[in-house]
């Protein structure tokens, strides 16, 4: 496996967006992530797959330092974004999170109107010079979140009044509105119907033009459909990482094979 990563690195040095080296994560005494090395490319969709509790969300949260908000969580090793260590004391996590956006496993709209939910990030980062520009940003984000048609007539009703799937798409729109460079998505489609799922997958594909997207998913089909790279996690370790086609057609590790054929997990 290490050989393979080295090989990949050699080929694609130029457009590595995120590179993680010897990352270890502890929740108190629980060792949740064990020595993970991975290089995530720019303008690519990378899928994290693996059985429940294997640490996918934990690793994802390391990439934008959301683990800082958990008191008992400790992160070791280096994670580089564009060659800069994001755990360097000089780095401002607030700025980092503006660059590395996140969509959470559970939809978490703010207790504000739909409009204000989406406008929240742009307002904080001063992305719009006036109201008209803000309106434009909000509309574009909602369209990209595949929810514009459903909410365009009630932009000023509360975001918490939407259905679970609509809330999740609102959260995607909210994350997209701040124009991050990397978008981390933790099971973004787990509450969505097939139509909305297809729309979100389309969005992910579109985002790939400009951003690097990391998506956690429990659906093999989804991973196969949207991603170019796939990483398989098992019990806190990164078992196998490579081109999606190859992982799904000729996995090298027996654990990967049994997982994607449905024997563990």
């Amino acid at each position: 496996m290490n050989d393979m990563t080295l090989l990949e690195r050699g080929v694609q040095t130029d457009d590595i967006k995120i590179s993680a080296r010897n990352v270890e994560v502890f929740y108190g005494d629980t060792h949740a992530i064990k020595n993970v090395n991975v290089e995530i490319q720019d303008k690519t969709v990378t899928a994290f797959i693996g059985p429940s509790g294997c640490g996918k969300s934990t690793f994802l949260r390391c990439i934008n330092r959301m683990n800082d908000t958990i008191d008992i969580c400790r992160v070791k090793g280096d994670i580089l974004l564009d060659g800069e260590d994001i755990y360097d004391p000089k780095v401002d996590p607030v700025q980092l999170r503006a660059k590395v956006g996140m969509v959470f496993q559970k939809p978490n709209p703010f207790p504000k109107s739909i409009y204000d939910n989406v406008a929240y990030g742009p307002k904080i980062h001063g992305l719009a010079r006036n109201k008209a520009e803000l309106d434009e940003i909000v509309e574009r984000a909602l369209r990209r979140g595949a929810i514009w048609d459903e909410v365009k007539d009630r932009l000023h009703s509360p975001g918490t009044g939407l259905s679970g799937g609509q809330q999740q798409r609102l959260c995607i729109a909210r994350a997209v509105a701040t124009e991050p460079e990397v978008l981390l998505m933790d099971e973004p489609c787990s509450a969505l119907d097939p139509i909305a799922t297809a729309q979100v997958e389309e969005l992910i594909d579109e985002l790939r033009q400009d951003y690097s997207v990391v998506i956690v998913t429990h659906s093999m089909q989804q991973a196969a459909r949207v991603s170019q790279k796939t990483a398989f996690f098992h019990l806190g370790t990164l078992v196998e990482y490579g081109a999606t086609d190859r992982i799904f057609t000729s996995p090298e590790d027996p654990r990967t094979e049994s997982y994607i054929t449905g024997r563990i997990g």
């Binding site: 959301m66 978490n108 709209p109 929240y120 701040t178």
Partner: protein
């Protein structure tokens, strides 16, 4: 037989009933518990219940009703002419009762023999002196019609008491026998005991509710009484508060209401920002260790009796303010007691109310909400301001209104800190007084309870009650409105 003896007998009967009922039920099942419908203790409880509950109920009702019946029958037999000018039947009846009680005490102490007490006449003995010698003080000489009535009262009371004792004990015994008669194995004792438990709980709940209703009614009746003696318009819109116990007082409520609102406003202006910021610090920024120390410390403030705050206002804050704003300094303040003094100290008292409730509410905002905001690159304080606080707002408003009701109802701090002058003024360094403080002073004076000067206390109390009720309703309304919007 005194009531306490009756109670002891009833208690003994209950214990006996429990033991015997249990034994009898077991015996009827051939000594095997499994053949009983319910557990043996239920059978025991059933007998105890039937022996005691009806008897106690009868006793309670009797004790309430008997004095009423007796007074009305004594009053009816009272000669019309015996009521002197300027007096009333109810006043005379309270004299009668006082004399009757006096005679009872005298008999107890041995100053009068039982027959003597029943037969003395006003002309033969000086009742007032003889009662005075055993420590029963009467206001004026006892006239013969009152003494007669008092003797009649005593006679009725002792007969009534005898009948009551017999009736209660008889009922207890009947219940006991009835309960025992039912002790068969197939009897469903558990169901009956369950009903009794439920009845007890309903009884407790209704006492709480009835007491509230009773308090409101007593307020309403006395308030109506007051408005018969004093025009409502002058009360609600009068600008002067000048009670004089000789009559001819001006009882305008506005200066008091103004004092109450002014002091509460200052108190809230102190308590709301400090309490809220403290709550935000504790719930959002403080480390768990810091929180574990600071929160209980803050809550100690809530445990300090308000009279201690009052002393603090009088002895520390007042003089301190005078030294800054008094004649030596800016010359705005005449004396230590002022709206500002009471308001500041009351504000300190309210801090833990606001902070403790707000802290709980802020903590209840789900972490995912904060994560969402932080994940978009918002800073900690932006997250608190724009996401956490709006989510917690309904609860915080509720906490603030609760603090406002406390402020409006607060008395001790005002009495000691704000002075006693009822005044309509904008200067926060003037002495003023509040509705609550004046309720105390109107009722603790020598005033006759039927005079407007005393009855005004009830009208003031009613006003306060309506205001706090209004605040609570608004709080409920706000909370409900926001809940609809955010959940």
């Amino acid at each position: 037989m005194p009531v306490s003896w009756i109670m002891i007998i009833l208690f003994a009967l209950a214990v006996l009933g429990y033991v015997l009922g249990r034994r009898r039920a077991l015996a009827s099942a051939g000594g095997d518990m499994r053949n009983l419908h319910s557990l043996p203790s239920y059978y025991g409880s059933h007998v105890a219940l039937f022996a005691v509950a009806p008897a106690v109920a009868l006793l309670a009702i009797w004790l309430v009703v008997q004095p009423m019946v007796i007074s009305s029958s004594v009053a009816r037999s009272f000669p019309d002419g015996a009521i002197s000018e300027g007096s009333s039947l109810s006043l005379v009846m309270s004299d009668v009762k006082r004399v009757a009680d006096g005679l009872n005490v005298a008999v107890e102490r041995g100053a009068l023999s039982a027959e003597e007490a029943g037969s003395v006449s006003a002309g033969a003995t000086n009742i007032r002196e003889r009662l005075g010698s055993v420590g029963v003080a009467l206001g004026s000489d006892v006239d013969s019609s009152v003494l007669d009535a008092a003797q009649k009262y005593r006679a009725y009371a002792s007969t009534g008491h005898l009948i009551m004792t017999l009736a209660v004990l008889g009922l207890a015994l009947t219940g006991f026998i009835y309960g025992m008669a039912q002790m068969r194995a197939e009897f469903r004792a558990r169901n009956i005991v369950e009903h009794a438990v439920k009845a007890l709980l309903v009884f407790a709940a209704s006492i709480a509710v009835l007491t509230t209703v009773g308090i409101i009614f007593s307020l309403i009746f006395n308030t109506i009484e007051f408005f018969k003696l004093y025009p409502a318009r002058d009360f609600f819109f009068g600008l002067t508060w000048a009670p004089s116990f000789g009559g001819g007082s001006e009882l305008g409520m506005l200066p008091l209401l103004w004092g109450t609102l002014y002091i509460s406003l200052i108190a809230l202006a102190v308590a709301v920002p400090i309490g809220l910021f403290a709550a935000i610090y504790l719930s959002e920024y403080a480390s768990p260790k810091m929180r574990a120390i600071a929160k209980p410390l803050l809550e100690v403030l809530a445990g300090i009796p308000t009279i201690v705050y009052g002393l603090f206002a009088l002895l520390t804050v007042g003089p301190l303010l005078v030294s800054i704003f008094g004649r030596e300094g800016l010359n705005w303040m005449q004396a230590g007691t002022a709206v500002m003094t009471a308001g500041l100290v009351m504000g300190v008292m309210l801090i833990p109310f606001v902070s403790s409730l707000s802290d709980d509410i802020i903590n209840a905002v789900p972490q995912t909400m904060r994560d969402g905001s932080l994940g978009l690159g918002a800073t900690h304080s932006e997250t608190v301001r724009q996401v956490v606080l709006p989510a917690a707002l309904p609860g915080i408003v509720g906490a603030i209104l609760l603090a406002a009701s406390r402020a409006i109802g607060e008395t001790m701090i005002v009495v000691l800190g704000a002075g006693a002058a009822a005044r309509l003024s904008l200067n926060p360094f003037d002495a003023m007084t509040t509705v609550t403080a004046k309720i105390v002073s109107q009722l603790t004076g020598d005033a006759d309870f039927a005079s407007p000067e005393a009855l005004v206390a009830f009208a003031l109390g009613m006003t306060l009650f309506v205001i706090t009720l209004g605040l609570n309703i608004i709080a409920l309304f706000i909370v409900r409105k926001y809940r609809e919007q955010y959940e």
